[in-house]
Symmetry: C2
Subunit: 186 residues, 2 copies
């Protein structure tokens, strides 16, 4: 049986990669989203074990010590990581697994798993990215400026990835990502 | 009367930016392509004064000395530059002018003309970019490897640009670029 493939979906904060991958797993078969662990606080509407495993810094450190993460990274003061066990299980079942992770962690994964396919999501423009970051309204000006600076640094890593998708109209971006995955199955 | 706007269209060698901008000026009104001067040899099918002004290095140096370029740059051993006069004339007539230039020159222009809009064209994937570079067949392996390395360096400058377009199906890429230009006219 065909084994699943790991897809690393990254892009700057606010680019909408979360929306894309969630629509993708709704619309297509045999694609699953790996649920990450994080030490950051849930945003409005985010559900524990669905969007993230929301855990404490102590719990996070314990998993690191047991070598239980595919990757983990610190980002804007919080920790994010991808637990190994669930991913391996799905690959064995022939399910493609999407790791929606920030760029620093994504590059780590592609270095450890050269067979993984890296998909970088870009905003249609820097203006749209800034608007999306501001629209989120969960952060103050200083945090937004920090995120914009981080976004530019992240964009500069784009050539470390294999495929590029611009998130203009969301349906088109989902189709573009799906096309990459379906072509790899042929 | 509305003045024209400068659009800097850049992207790695082989990404197809030339094809996009030529289709763009065919399909849309009041968009003109600035013709660059270059010291490189014409490729098959390239016509002097249409695709480039093919000039000698001495002629190129003379224009530099007269401050007659909006920008110029050395690239893979050849010189490329954008003559000023023709661009200014078109802007005055309300025509948007596309400068199709490589990344190094594009960034120069955007620094000198902050009102210019930078559009960065990305390939759908690194694999496609490599295929396109190989398909061109006008270069040997060493040159291709050099261009691939240059392409990655160029991609890392993507966040210096304002808008991002992936060149998958050509018609879609042309529409995406046109949409950016038409929105700016509103």
């Amino acid at each position: 049986m065909r084994k699943g493939k790991i897809y690393v979906v990254s892009g700057p904060s606010g680019v909408g990669k979360g929306t894309i991958v969630r629509k993708l797993i709704e619309d297509y078969d045999n694609i699953a989203l790996s649920v990450s662990a994080t030490t950051r606080s849930p945003r409005t509407g985010e559900v524990d074990k669905v969007h993230y495993f929301f855990i404490t810094k102590d719990e996070f450190t314990e998993i690191i010590n047991k070598d239980g993460f595919i990757e983990y990274a610190e980002y804007c003061g919080n920790y994010y990581g991808t637990p190994k066990a669930a991913v391996y299980e799905k690959l064995e079942q022939g399910i493609d697994v999407i790791l929606e992770i920030e760029v620093q962690g994504g590059i780590q994964v592609m270095e450890k798993f050269p067979e993984a396919c890296g998909i970088f999501i870009l905003p249609p423009s820097m203006a749209v990215l800034e608007k999306r970051l501001r629209g989120r309204q969960s952060e103050d000006e200083e945090t937004i400026q920090k995120r914009l600076k981080t976004a530019k640094e992240e964009l500069s890593k784009v050539s470390m990835y294999d495929c590029f998708v611009v998130n203009g109209p969301i349906e088109k971006a989902v189709e573009d990502v799906a096309e990459i995955i379906l072509k790899n199955r042929e």
